[in-house]
């Protein structure tokens, strides 16, 4: 079974780490990741840019593009995509296409800061 581990934390709190503190956390995580990687059990790892960089597409009719992260609590996180786009406009277009195929709910579009492709976990 493949599992996704979704990381939640207080952004203000993580944002107030000094660069050294941040690097120390990343180094500790890398130890865990390296072990998984050696065992062929690590897929892609992404660190997202802050929610200030997020844009949300509400898949209403018509779809609505809003600044900021998806903030409602009545829907649940059901999946995610990693896509490569020239810019935010292009990413929003992709989200619109996906939304047309599956209306209802929302997509939060968040730029990826760090992306480690990982190995083949199959």
């Amino acid at each position: 079974m493949l599992y996704a581990i979704l990381c939640y934390h207080d952004e203000d709190f993580v944002g107030s780490w000094t660069r050294d503190q941040d690097a120390a956390v990343m180094a500790r995580l890398a130890v865990v990741q390296d072990k998984l990687k050696k065992e062929g059990r690590l897929g892609p790892v992404a660190r997202l840019l802050p929610t200030t960089a997020a844009t949300t597409l509400r898949k209403d009719d018509p779809p609505l593009v809003l600044d900021g992260p998806y903030a409602e609590t009545k829907e649940q996180l059901l999946g995610f995509y990693i896509i490569d786009c020239e810019n935010l406009d292009a990413a929003v277009d992709v989200a619109r296409d996906l939304g047309a195929a599956n209306p209802g709910g929302a997509y939060e579009i968040r730029p990826v800061g760090v992306f480690l492709p990982g190995g083949d976990v199959k």
Partner: protein, 424 residues
């Protein structure tokens, strides 16, 4: 991270919201700060034992209020203070208060807190010091260090600023849309001032002053989180990130300023650049341009160029052109002329800055740039005059040293040509 480091970080991030809310309750800055301080002391005792509260800011506001109210009761009735456990036992109350802290209050609380620091009667340095003390919670000692003044002088500066602010009366009513956007603009300008205070540091002091840049970025992010659809706040945050991303490359080992063209671009912080580019990309979708967005777009073009030659100077020229319209200033024209010199040559650039001479007669950069253009046109004698003037006007030793480097190059270049002339 140790227990206390965790708590310190949580207190720092909760501070603007907590002090902002306490200020709304007590309508007095000193009382609000003191209440927050007391709440922090309780947190240091309670959190390691009971674990972190779900919403640290709500916890601090609640405890801060209770302690302050008890303080008033105690002094008026001489009653004993209740046990810590009673005051800090908030398990049930926490949910209720978290609900009551609705989004709009939270937003205006923090904006108000930032805005009172921007009082127009306060000189810029006092605005910045006050914001760093009240909003960011830096100690007087830390602020004094960043400003390179004594702790006593900084203490006095902050006290004076506080007196002036409390005398002026704090606007407590919920702001209307126009007022809110005016406050936002004033606060954005102040955040940019904080940043520049750190960014304009010389080589020797840049490490000490760097926290000012970092704090400005933190405040800009905070503001953006509160006002998510404001393209100018996106632009401001992007601008600060893109400029700060270059900080490791801006000074050489001996503390001399390194110009953009000569910087080691591998030292630029790619994480900050990525965030800055994402924000400017997001801002541009709004099609509502503004000075911060334009400046950020210019910084973005520099950040995107992997070599100086790869810089899109034509686009930078156009962007400065738009900035000249929105925010006409001889300094903007001077910056534009640098882009023009790369696109259309030094002659065109020199013509462009010629009319600025009078208004920029005491501006270091004007003579530095003018000297550089003249040098490119082989008008070495005039270039030397301009560089001499620049050195006389230099604000920091790094600036003067940089111009001296140009002068040395002039001397070096003029010698072989002189030798050639002799041979003829």
């Amino acid at each position: 991270m140790t227990d206390t480091a965790w708590i310190d970080a949580a207190l720092t991030s909760a501070r603007p919201q907590a002090v902002g809310a306490l200020l709304r309750y007590f309508r007095n800055l000193d009382t609000a700060e003191e209440a927050f301080q007391n709440a922090c002391l309780r947190a240091l005792k309670s959190w390691p034992q009971n674990g972190p509260p779900r919403d640290p800011a709500a916890w601090l506001i609640m405890v801060g209020r209770n302690v302050a109210i008890d303080e008033v009761r105690r002094t008026s009735r001489h009653e004993a203070l209740p046990e810590d456990e009673v005051i800090s036992d908030l398990d049930d109350a926490e949910d209720a208060i978290a609900e009551r802290l609705d989004g709009s209050h939270y937003r205006d609380d923090i904006l108000r807190l930032l805005f009172i620091c921007c009082h127009p009667e306060l000189p810029a340095t006092q605005q910045i010091a006050l914001a760093l003390r009240i909003v960011s919670g830096l100690t007087v000692k830390q602020i004094a260090r960043a400003f390179l003044v004594s702790e006593a002088a900084m203490e006095q500066r902050i006290t004076r600023a506080k007196t002036r602010v409390s005398g002026a009366g704090v606007p407590f009513e919920t702001p209307g849309a126009v007022e809110r956007s005016e406050r936002l603009a004033a606060v954005a300008a102040m955040i940019y001032l904080i940043f520049n205070e750190g960014y304009s540091a010389s080589g020797e002091t840049s490490e000490i002053r760097k926290p000012l840049c970092e704090e400005a970025i933190r405040l800009a992010r905070l503001l953006l989180r509160l006002f998510q659809s404001e393209p100018e706040i996106m632009g401001l945050t992007a601008l600060l990130l893109l400029q700060h991303a270059r900080s490791a490359a801006r000074f050489d080992a001996s503390g001399e300023l390194v110009l953009l063209d000569d910087q080691d671009r591998t030292l630029w912080n790619q994480k900050m650049i990525a965030e800055g580019l994402a924000l400017i990309d997001k801002a541009m979708r709004h099609r509502r341009s503004g000075p911060y967005q334009i400046q950020a777009a210019i910084a973005a073009l520099h950040a995107r160029a992997t070599t100086p030659e790869g810089t899109d100077w034509a686009q930078i020229d156009l962007l400065y052109g738009s900035l000249e319209i929105l925010q006409p200033s001889p300094v903007v024209t001077l910056n534009r002329a640098v882009a023009v010199s790369k696109v259309r040559g030094a002659e065109a650039a020199l013509q462009m800055i010629e009319p600025l001479g009078e208004r920029l007669a005491n501006y270091f950069h004007y003579f530095g740039v003018r000297g550089a253009f003249l040098m490119q046109l082989d008008r070495n004698e005039e270039a030397r005059v301009a560089f001499d003037r620049a050195i006389a006007l230099a604000n920091t030793s790094a600036e003067a040293a940089h111009i001296r480097m140009h002068l040395d190059r002039l001397m070096r270049d003029s010698r072989p040509s002189g030798a050639k002339a002799e041979k003829k």
